[in-house]
């Protein structure tokens, strides 16, 4: 019996691919025939991709070795390459880059099949980008998705080095060791952005603080790659000083990555406070409430 991914075209001509935990929203701009070819290529590459990853899942859940890559799949190797630069300093597994690496792979298949002016593969907030010439990609950052809040906007241009955007934090699908609500990272590739967002979000932290509730990851998900490490379950009220301390720790980490050229920029958010790292224009769009997209 063969398991097929869900493949659906949304009415606004975006493509939706889903298989197990992978959920992709894909957009492409270009000639009609190119869009069709790109979507076809995306669907074909996506079919079986999860099985490919799962065949090496136990290795991918182990701490990465900075010098040696023991996995073989092209996506698995990309995951490893994205986390390897961090492996000397901390515990990190290739799973920290899985979403970005998958997004990149699908985008690569689309670019190989068609000439596109602009394209993106959004894997649950980890986004791989293709921009040509005058094309731009606008990233909206919401400080309070659940309520009235301020939307900030970053516009990426083809001339920028950024081809990956990823967000990590304690509200996402994967666990965080830190307390950041969201850390959005801009980087040269989606896998790099994904790994860096995980690392910076972990760094936004207040070790030992009484308002932070943590539990071993394996108690929540028995086979999680973080094992017995304590992951953040809840963050209570924090003083201004606490917030500044936690954000400064994250900023310090992001600044170091920026200096090394491993990221192009980062935006850190904690309890409505926001810090930007990297000279990039962040516009405040409007106070707004998120509305469901018009059907």
């Amino acid at each position: 019996m063969s398991r097929q991914p869900q493949i659906a075209l949304l009415p606004d001509r975006r493509l939706h691919l889903q298989d197990g935990p992978i959920d992709l929203i894909i957009g492409a701009e270009g000639a009609e025939a190119d869009i069709r070819a790109a979507y076809q290529a995306a669907a074909e590459r996506f079919t079986g991709l999860l099985d490919e990853l799962c065949s090496e899942l136990s290795e991918l859940r182990k701490a990465a070795d900075q010098d040696r890559c023991v996995v073989n799949g092209v996506v698995a190797r990309r995951m490893h390459a994205a986390v390897a630069p961090f492996a000397a300093e901390m515990f990190i597994t290739p799973m920290a880059a899985v979403a970005g690496a998958v997004a990149e792979e699908i985008l690569g298949a689309m670019r190989g099949a068609a000439t596109l002016a602009r394209a993106y593969v959004n894997n649950g907030g980890d986004i791989a980008l293709h921009l040509e010439d005058a094309a731009t990609f606008t990233v909206g950052l919401m400080d309070r998705p659940d309520a009235a809040g301020v939307m900030r906007r970053i516009t990426l241009h083809a001339a920028d080095a950024v081809r990956g955007v990823a967000t990590s934090g304690r509200h996402g699908r994967s666990f965080s060791l830190g307390i950041a609500d969201a850390v959005t990272v801009l980087a040269a590739s989606a896998a790099q952005a994904d790994a860096a967002a995980t690392v910076i979000a972990n760094a936004v932290d207040l070790p030992g603080h009484s308002a932070v509730v943590r539990r071993p990851a394996c108690e929540l998900q028995p086979d999680n790659d973080l094992g017995h490490r304590l992951v953040t379950c809840d963050v209570g009220a924090l003083s201004e000083t606490d917030m500044a301390t936690a954000l400064a720790a994250g900023e310090h980490c992001a600044q170091a990555l920026l200096s090394d050229g491993r990221i192009e920029g980062a935006v850190l958010q904690l309890h409505g406070a926001i810090r930007a790292v990297g000279a990039r224009l962040i516009e405040i769009v409007r106070p707004s409430r998120l509305r469901p997209a018009a059907a």
Binding site: M1, R3, Q4, Q6, I7, A8, L9, L10, P11, R13, H16, D19, G20, P21, D23, E32, I35, R36, Y39, Q40, A43, L50, D51, C54, L57, R173, E219, L220, Q221, P222, D223, A295
Partner: protein, 483 residues
């Protein structure tokens, strides 16, 4: 996909085998996908209802997940587990209870789904073919392999309509007519391609969800509007770039300088003379015969619908764009000293406007709605008092579905319904030699309502007793068209 829970013996966590990640999930927790969770030791889908709502609100289509094994798939979890009738078998003689009468609990209410495959002598398909091309006169006979299987019925906006099948062709004519009709209906309903020829008209290959092929030419697009509407939509984009535009259309041909849209933009008269019958300024009926040429007319030379230009108004050098309502045909002309239009290369900005018309035309598709009436015998398989089932459906106490797909139940007597065959799993239709079609049909109601309408209570079996059934929903696979 098997989503039976598999207890691993170590505590009460379960291993999900919905995908190859094979998560171990603790009670009360969800897997890596956030879609499957462990609820008191049972693997459940967390988001079926939300997923369904989202999919529907995005205009998506749903069909039940197709599973393997003897039991051929057919469970939709929306939000309750739902068993569809495909492969369920049918009842004969009539009083025998339907093959599956299944009960499940939804919000504490026992639900009963009566699952059966109906044999439909009174059935047919309504085919909508997105094309402006002339397929044939209204009421003309539609044939397959020379046998009459239906007729052309009244057209709809941008589409030609066929009504095929029905008891008259199935059982009222020759044996061959019945067999050919039955095959054509089954193939169309199972989303296969069928070639139809129309008396006094075209030959067309119809396949649900695919573009029609008219006289060997695949239709690409529906027109954006009639010729007059196209003038209205694009007048502003033409202003200053060309002196005159004619949008050729079988229904209403539009002329920019005479049209209200042109007048409002102060576009001067050009002395153009149109053939055909003027309706209102700038709008002409019957500029040519219907056909498969420009804009659904029979012309291949657009100048053939123009009379001589009026020498009092027309000036040499006047530019003219002629374009069909789908933008598939277009020509650019300049009046010479004798006021005769001479074809020239089209300037890029006009080419752009032609492409803009093309872009605004939706992909042309064939759509097939299966329509049938559930007769007394089918209803007797559900209850010993068939009319009560009809009343229950009318009172909206009983929900009718076909292969898990929603149906429209026609008002009035009986249970006559229509369903989009592309929302049903592939291969859902069969036939019996009567000839008649076999189609899945499910009736869902509360257990108490089922008892009240005289249901076969002795035959109700709990959902859990149906082994080897899958529970999942999936969206339609790659649509092929419509990107």
């Amino acid at each position: 996909m098997v989503t039976e829970t598999a207890s691993d013996g170590a505590g009460d966590k379960i291993r999900c085998d919905a995908c190859p990640v094979m998560c171990y999930i603790k009670p009360g927790a969800a897997g890596a996908c956030d879609r499957y969770a462990n609820q008191d030791g049972v693997l459940v889908r967390v988001d079926p209802h939300i997923l369904l709502e989202r999919t529907v609100s995005h205009g998506g289509k749903l069909v039940p997940f197709q599973a393997s094994g003897d039991w051929d798939g057919k469970i939709v979890h929306q939000p309750e587990l739902f068993v569809t009738a495909i492969g369920a078998g049918t009842t004969y003689p009539d009083y025998k209870p339907a093959p599956f009468i299944v009960s499940s609990q939804v919000e504490g209410v026992d639900m009963v789904t009566v699952v059966t495959e109906g044999i439909f002598s009174y059935c047919g398909v309504k085919v909508k073919i997105d094309t402006d091309r002339y397929l044939g006169p209204e009421a003309a006979t539609v044939r397959v392999d020379g046998e009459a299987v239906g007729h052309v019925t009244t057209s709809e906006y941008g589409s030609q309509m066929l009504s095929l099948g029905g008891v008259h062709h199935l059982t009222g004519g020759s044996k061959k007519e019945g067999r050919v009709t039955c095959d054509a209906l089954m193939d169309l309903s199972n989303r296969k391609a069928v070639e139809l020829t129309i008396d006094g008209g075209a030959s067309v290959i119809v396949q649900a969800g695919q573009p029609p092929v008219v006289n060997g030419v695949k239709e690409e697009r529906m027109r954006v509007g009639c010729g007059s509407a196209t003038i209205g939509m694009f007048a502003k984009q033409w202003q200053g770039k060309v002196d005159e535009v004619v949008v050729v259309d079988d229904h209403i041909t539009g002329v920019l300088s005479e049209h209200q849209a042109g007048k409002l933009l102060d576009i001067p008269a050009t002395g153009i003379k149109m053939k055909g019958r003027r309706s209102t300024p700038g709008r002409y009926f019957q500029v040519a015969q219907p056909g498969t040429g420009w804009g659904g007319t029979d012309i291949s030379d657009p100048l053939s619908i123009l009379g001589p230009f009026d020498p009092k108004t027309a000036k040499p050098g006047t530019t003219l764009l002629m374009v069909s309502t789908t933008g598939e045909h277009a020509g650019y002309y300049v009046l010479d000293e004798a006021l005769k239009p001479v074809q020239r290369d089209m300037p890029p900005e006009l080419q752009f406007s032609v492409e803009r018309i093309q872009e605004n035309c939706e992909p042309a598709l064939c759509t097939v709605l299966f329509m049938a009436g559930a007769g007394g015998s089918l209803r007797a398989g559900v209850t010993d008092n068939p009319v009560r089932l009809t009343r229950s459906v009318k009172d909206a106490l009983t929900r009718v579905t076909s292969g898990g797909a929603p149906v429209y139940v026609w008002p009035g007597g009986g249970i006559t319904y229509m369903v989009d065959v592309t929302q049903m799993p592939a291969g859902a239709f069969g036939y019996v030699p009567t000839p008649a079609l076999v189609a899945p049909i499910e009736f869902t109601m509360t257990l108490s309502d089922y008892e009240a309408l005289g249901g076969h209570m002795d035959y109700v079996q709990p959902l859990a007793s149906l082994r080897d059934v899958s529970k999942d929903i999936r969206q339609l696979p790659w649509p092929g068209q419509g990107i």
